[in-house]
Amino acid sequence: MNNVPIMAGLILTGILFMIGVTGLLIRRNLVFILMSIEIMLNAAGMAFIVAASKWMQPDGQVMFIFILAMAAAEVAVGLALILQIFHKFKTLDADKLNNMKG
């Protein structure tokens, strides 16, 4: 009974990914950059779910679980890096962090 067109789902995936890329390009705050990466990861996972719905196979959902775990690890490390950068440089502007010398 449920026949949402696959093409519409894939187009939505592409639009969400492009929104994520746009956010990555236009924002210079590190927190917003990480949020844009989250939007892009979510869009990629949605493509897997749509494909799993097309072929009625569980493989796409398994891939989404892997993407979820990877996103969790990435966010944990990324937020720890953001905290350290803020404590060291007192700013989150990505353009002002180009003089990292260790």
Partner: protein
């Protein structure tokens, strides 16, 4: 069910656009949570209720709470109290609440249309996902476990404040 998909797709796109254009990080996080909730609804419509539940619990729950914690930690200025006063204003939360209300109405419509039984939507059952996960993808599960472990250790190591090292010979030689 097509109409429900298009409405929630519109909610997802709109809230994502709002999320990347807000000035305040907390406002953007509110819209990002709405975007993830509508993505969960879309997963449900595509016949993956287990993934929809995981999306709500892990993405919209755990990861977004982590974001909010860090944003709150970064914002500890002297004007944080006035800022919290501003966050209580309705014009901040009326947008995300409106979008979540749309999703909630869709949810009610969908559940009442199927007589409360969600199994008509399921295309791949959670049992098949679990079986596939622990038979043919068990190597991937172990690698994910190693990734999460290294993520935990890395986050602890990076996030730790460095202790100031005091050395009496070096201090003495300053004089």
């Amino acid at each position: 069910m097509d109409v429900l998909f298009y409405i929630s797709a519109g909610v997802a796109i709109g809230s994502s656009v709002m999320a990347i254009t807000r000035k305040n990080a907390v406002h953007a996080l509110l819209y990002l949570v709405v975007s993830l909730l509508s993505a969960a609804f879309i997963f449900y419509l595509f016949g993956a209720p287990f993934i929809a539940a995981l999306e709500v619990i892990i993405y919209a729950g755990a990861i977004m709470v982590l974001f909010i914690f860090v944003v709150m930690m970064l914002n500890l200025g002297k004007d944080s109290e006035r800022q919290e006063q501003d966050w209580m204003k309705p014009k901040i939360w009326i947008g995300p609440s409106f979008l979540v209300g749309i999703l909630f109405i869709e949810f009610i419509i969908m559940l009442s249309g199927t007589g409360g039984s969600y199994f008509q939507f399921v295309k791949v059952s959670p049992r098949e996902v679990g079986t596939s996960l622990f038979t043919s993808y068990v190597l991937g599960v172990e690698m994910t476990a190693m990734l999460l472990m290294s993520g935990i250790v890395g986050a602890y190591h990076i996030g730790r404040r460095k202790k100031k090292m005091r050395h009496r010979y070096l201090e003495g030689s300053d004089e």
